[in-house]
Structure formats: C-alpha cells, structure tokens
Symmetry: D2
C-alpha cells in the first residue's frame, strides 16, 4: 500500500525541434540519427545513473528519467552537456507525484507549457511541476521473460523473437499503467517498471493477463529503496532469486542502505 507521503520525481527530456532538424537542409542519413540518439541517451544514462536515478529511452527524442536525487536546477547541467557536444539542444520538464504516472504526467505538462516540441523558438527550457519534494522510498519491478534464450533467442527467427518480446512488453506496459506504473523495455528480454507499492497479487494478475494475451511467460522481481538505484538493485536480486526458485513474483526485503 502506497504511503501517500511518498513522492517520486520524473523528468522528461525532449530534444528541441528535433523532427525538423532531422530533415534540414536535407534528410540526414538514418544511421547518423541512430548513433546520435543512442549517444545522447547513453550520456543521460551516465548523468542520471551516477546520481542514483534510472533512465528509459522513451522515443529517444523524448527520454524518461527517474530523478528523485536530482534537483531541477541540476538538470541544467545535462542541458549544458548536450548544448556543447551535440548539434541539438534539450528542454526538460520535471514533475513529482505520488505515483510514477502522476509524476511523469506532471513533468509532461510542465514541459508542454513551455511550447511545442517543434516550436523553433523554444529551446533549452526547464520547467517544473513539483507539489512536493521527492520523498520516501521508490519501488522498481524488473521483468524477465522465462527461458527467453531457450525458447526464442536460440530457436526462432531473430525478428520473430523481437516482435514477440516487444508485443509482450507493450501489453505489460498497458496493464502496469492501470496501476500507476511507468514501464519500459530495457533490452534483451527485460523490462523495468517504476511502480507504486503494489502487492504480489497485483503482479500475479498482470503477468497472467500478459500470458493470456500474447502467450509469453514473464517473471518479476520487486525491490524497494530510497533511490531508483537501490530499489532497482533489490529488484534485480529478487529476480535472480526467482530464476533459481521458479517463483514468478519475488519481492525483496526492503533495502536498508543503498547498494
């Protein structure tokens, strides 16, 4: 049960006027865009990760970060990093809420209030919507497809394995959203969600719904901690336990100190 005092902070990092930039003066080669997008995301991962947060790629021109330990002002440092290294700039919305969905929603609205993503006159804006300071523990759920290597990676056409896993995580994202969680595929056969404090039965229901919808078996490890980092490490350890015991839902004991 979520303590209503617990407040999580999400940041939405949006590249300014990116769509138009990709075709001006002429369409830019796709591998160049792929490399650019991936490296900006990697830099965000380093910036946020070294401050105990978590990152998801989003749509690459819109990236998502869990930023409880990062003040809005400090986000300017990431904007500065982008400005001096890349041919694009970034605007950021920072929002808090009692659930991840509420926090990311606040961040989204804050960012949208600064202007359109494709407004050429809008650049490097930083907007916040924080009703409260980030406070209290976070919960991270780490999902893993059961025996993906044996069933899919080593056995199927690579594209079919990818479609299957991505569809499973699209279903998963929709179910978890109903519970206030923000979920992302993170590569391989894994997805990670930042969630409210949900009970195991909720995860059972979600996993069963995904299994019924797409025929993919998923297990989950859940961790809770003061930072996304510690909660996430707890989730990873719980997942390892589940891999060994065969349990599909394993919730770690609360982390006493950061990993």
């Amino acid at each position: 049960m979520t303590n209503t005092d617990d407040t999580v902070q999400f940041s939405l990092v949006q590249l300014d006027d990116y769509g138009p930039w990709t075709v001006t003066p002429e369409p830019r080669p796709e591998p160049s865009l792929q490399a650019l997008q991936a490296r900006i995301y990697a830099d965000l991962a380093d910036f946020v990760g070294s401050r105990d947060g978590y990152v998801f790629p989003g749509r690459y021109d819109n990236m998502i970060a869990v930023t409880n330990q990062i003040t809005p002002a400090e986000h300017q440092r990431f904007q500065e990093l982008v400005r001096h290294r890349y041919p694009v700039t970034a605007s950021i919305g920072v929002g808090t809420g009692t659930t991840p969905i509420d926090a990311l929603g606040a961040a989204t609205e804050a960012l949208q209030s600064t202007g359109s993503a494709q407004d050429a006159a809008r650049s490097e804006r930083l907007a916040t919507a924080r009703d409260a300071d980030p406070n209290g523990p976070l919960t991270v759920a780490h999902f893993d497809v059961v025996d993906a290597t044996g069933r899919y990676t080593d056995a199927e056409h690579a594209f079919d394995a990818e479609r299957r896993i991505r569809r499973a995580f699209v279903e998963l994202s929709d179910r978890m959203r109903e519970h206030g969680a923000v979920t992302s595929f993170v590569g391989g056969d894994n997805a990670i969600a930042v969630t409210p404090d949900l009970d195991d039965a909720t995860y059972d229901d979600v996993l069963e719904a995904v299994r019924d919808a797409v025929g993919v078996e998923i297990r989950v490890g859940v961790g809770r901690g003061e930072t996304a980092h510690s909660a996430g490490q707890g989730a990873k350890h719980a997942l390892e336990t589940g891999r060994n015991t065969g349990d599909w839902v394993v919730t770690a004991a609360p982390a006493s100190t950061d990993d």
Copy 2:
C-alpha cells in the same frame, strides 16, 4: 514486383553470453547497462552507416544490420572494435535472401548454428549463410505518424504517447512481416522497414489495418536504390513529399546514383 535475382544481406550481431554477464558477479546497475548497450549500438551504426548500410537496435543484445556492401570478412572488424573497447564480445551471423525476412532468417540460423547465445564457451563467432552474393537494388519504407507532434507529443501524457506509438509500430511490424519485410521503430514517431519491392496497394492495406487496429494514422515514403543508404534517402524524400501533399503512400522514382 521483386526481381528474383535481387539478393539482400542481413547481419545479426549478438553479444556473447550477455545475460549472465549483466549479473556476474553481482547484478550491474541498470543505467550502466543502458549506456553500454546504447553505445555499442551507436558504434554499429557508425560502422555500418559509413559502409552504406542500415541498422536497427533489435533487442540491443541482438542487433540487426542491412549489410549488402559489407563482406562477411569485414564484419570481423566490428567484432575487433567491440573486443578492444567493451567488456563484452559479439558473434555475428550473416545471411542473404531474396526478401529481408529470408535474409535475416538465414543470418539467424547461421548464428544459432555456432551455439547458444548464453554458451559461455561461444564467443566471437562469425557464420555465414549466403546462397548468393548480395545483388540488385533494395527497397526501404519510412513510416511516420501523421501529426504526431500535434496529436500526441504536445497533447498527451508522454508515457501514453509512447505506448500508443510503440503499439502502432508493433502492429505495423506484424503486417509488414507478412510481406517479407523487417521493420523497426527508429525513434520519435518513425519506423523503417526494409522490404521486397511492394506495390502501393500493399502499403495502403497495411496502413489501413494499423489504423483500424490502433487508431493511429501513418504515412509512408518508399525508396529504392543500390544501397540501404540510397534507398533510405529516397524513402525520406518521398516521405517529405507526402508531408507536403497529404498523400499517405509516396514511392520515390528509383535512385540513379547513391545519395
């Protein structure tokens, strides 16, 4: 109509024993994994892009490249690049076929024949399944959600916009697969497919099916050329035409020379 002599080459780049590496000796912090995966993918994009190919991230531990202009032996150079810069190594399968699905399927089987993705004794394998040398033009289709900025990015919760667009492209990937195409979300509101030479009516059917399934309107630009690069640039220009004219399917005149 596809000239049955046309042969496309796909490469499947798989990180060796990656799942186990991410949790040995202890689970590694997720932002570190995100950064690592993104940077290896960016390096692949540079390697392949500078040789006129195209790349898709796949599942990051399994990346996809269109490699008509890159000999199997030259793929070793990318394996070498990974070996000396990263804490992981990569095995690669290279395959050809008359359709992208067939080519990627051949690449998958070639790679699978070298051993499991999680076989600790299998590393840096390079396997090929080439019935014929790559030959003849490629077709690239570049898909774009109609007015994504106005309808979704500037208007919706960022996570809902992402879920909507990703679900649309999962549907698109399934439909296009039926026609022998390999499709990938490439960021923003865009997806790219490498396809056989399909007629406009096929694209009309696919786009209608996606619209009916998920309520998202997509347009497409199609290009054809001797390399993924030139075909892709043709597709991007065709898409720009479509953005201006309002047409949902625009096929570019064949490229006479590489962009």
Copy 3:
C-alpha cells in the same frame, strides 16, 4: 597572495595494469587503444565537469582531475562507470594541498601506496591523502598562443606547428611548476594551469622565459573562484579581454558566483 587556508583537491585516475592489458594476449591495434583512451577521458571530463571540476588527459593511463567539489567516496561512482563499460578498471588517488603541485603529489603518493600501476592484483583501489578538506577559492590560468592561426596553423607544416606549440607548453609547464602549478596542453593553441594565487609579475616572467626559450608568444587570462569551473570561466573571459586589448596578462576580478 595565497591564503594558507586555501586547500585544493586533485585526483589521479590510473588505469589498472593497462600496459600489460594492451599487449595481452597479443598487441592490440593502436587505433583501438587511441579510441578507448580518448573515450575514457571524455567520460571523466563529463563526470568531473558536471561536478564543477576540471580535467587534464595526463598520459591517458594516468589522468588528472581537479576535484574540490567531489568527495573521495563519490569517486567510486566513476570507477563503477569504467568497470561496467570498459574492458579495464581504474584506481584513484585523491589528495589535498595548499598548492596544486602539493595536492597532486599527495594524490600520487596515496595511489602509489596501493601498489604498482602494473600489479595485476591491484585493481579499483581508492586511496586518499587529505590533511584538510578542500576549501577556499581556486586559481586557473588559461594560456593562448598569440596569433597561432595566422603564424602557425595557416602558414606552417601541420607537424611543425604542433611541435612548436607542444614544445612551448612543455617549457611553460616546467616554469609554472616552479610556482606550484599543474599545467596541461588542452588542444589547439591553449594550455590551462591550476595555480596558487600568483601576481601578474610572475606570469610576465614565465611568459618571457618561454618566449626566450622557444620563440613563441603566449598570453594568459587568470581567474579565481570557488570552483575550477568558475575560476576557469573567469580565466577564459580574462583571456578574451587580453585578445581585444593586446595585454599579455589579464587577471579577472574575482568571481562572485559560479558561472
């Protein structure tokens, strides 16, 4: 005049067992080593720069950072970044002193106390030698060759321009060391020193000695601030003033707030 309470902190980041790694099992290709070294240095620059410090490449397997705002414990985050992204690891010595030379000397001794740079059993050590906490303002001097573009870059053989400028900065480094400063070439025709609080006459003498020794005219801008970042920005602005006025030594007014 240096306030003897002012304490600066330097960190020496040393790649563990790097020499042997570069030739095991066989010598690794030089461009791979160049890329690896440059990217680790770039990551250090991002890590330290986003925490208001400064970095110098040193010898790449031994990198130098000015780290007043970074606790010894926080340095572990950089070690973790290296561990999960690269095929090498890093040990770090952190030291303080009333002059940059003393601080870097303390950092060196702390690191050396953990074992040899080529001791295969020594990895990821973190050692500190801090007699006092970092405190008080820093001074940064930014050196620039007068009219390098006109005299050298646009006029001479590129290798001769490079030799000339590097020799000038080797001489500069020796002279500035006599005054307790740590100096590094930073690219182009620029060098940066972290120095005690020296008077303008000292800079005049140093520049004259370099001019006499190698025939290269250098100007300098000097800044002072609570962080390497603010001191360095002050130095850059002072240098711009000197470029406009023709003065060879310009000391900025003390920075009141960080840039």
Copy 4:
C-alpha cells in the same frame, strides 16, 4: 633504403572555425571542450582504424591520420559523420609523398589552400595533393620508455613523470623529423612514428641523442607492411621482443600479410 616508388598518404583533419566556436556566444566550459575533442578523435580513430590506417591526435582541432587505404572521396564519409553528430564541422586535406613529412606537408598545403582555419565562410572543404597514388609498404616505429613504471609511474610525482615523458617525446619528434618521420605521443610511455625505411643505426643515433638531452632511455620496435595497421602490429611485436631481450632497437621481419 626507401624505394622511391613508395608513396604514403596522410590526411589532416581540421575542425572548421573551432577557436571562435569555443567562445561563442560565451566561452564554453573546458571539460565540455575536452570531452568533445576527445570523442571526435575517438570517432576518427574508429573510422581510420577500421580501414587499416593510423591516427594521431595532433592538436585535436588538427588531427593527423595515415590513410593509404582510404580514397579522398571516402574522407567525405567522416566529414558527414561529424556534421550529423557534433556542433562543429571538419575540413580535410589529403596528401601523398615519398616520406611521411612530405605527405603531411602536401596535406597541409592542400588544406591551407581552401582558406584559413578561422575563416567562418570555410567549412567542410576537402582538398587533395596527390602526385601519386599511395603505394608500397609503410614503416612504423613504436617507441617505449624503458621501465617507465618502475622509474617514473610508481616512483615520481605524476606531473613530473608526465613532464619528463612528454619532453622526451618532444625531443624524439624533433630528431625523427630530420629523417622525414611524423611522430606522436600515444599515451602511457609510448610514442609512434610513421617513418621512411631507416636503418637501425639511425634509430641508435636518435635514441642516444634523446638520452643525452633529457636523460630518458627509450627502446623502439620497427615494423614494415602494406598498411599502417600491419606495419604497426609488426612494430608492436618487435617492441615486445626488445622488452624480452633488452635490445633497444628491434626491426621486425617484413610482414607477409596483414595482421
């Protein structure tokens, strides 16, 4: 003895209008510039290295590459890579000659003919000065300070070790230039030169002169091959032999095939 038919190709990669860019609209933070410079250099190392060439950082806004296997037209791909990923662009001069110094001199003049490094109107120029196609083997000499770890890295103040080694390689560069070679410090205690085909006695003289001038003992391994890569690998192996035998000059047998 150099076969006067042997022709080597060098490329000079110069960032356009870089000095002014670093201070416009305001001076950019130094760690940002360090990261940018290092990553562009790393990308050049990957681009050239995967095409069997060698790279040296030069002054970072002027980088040097040995490019026998890379046509002038192909250099445009690197310019394109920079254009789409970075906030700066690059102009390139490509030159050939019978000695490295002549080749780099030709490249320099070709580049200078396109305009000043700080001409805001000059961007992304590509100029060549090729009297002959690159042809015939290259020679690479790999220099290594004897027992640097024991004498300097583990024993001295890090800044003093760095000054000593950099001064030694400044002296080495000057001596080797007299013989037509282009030399660069490459990190650690190593320098690499691309040279004409010199006899062992010449290396003996050069090493003795450096020893007399700066008191640093250096050994060298020399390799010869069809590409900078194979010549360089030969040099590295020769150096390993020298480390084991105690010889200060070891010339490898000619490479029969590329490494």
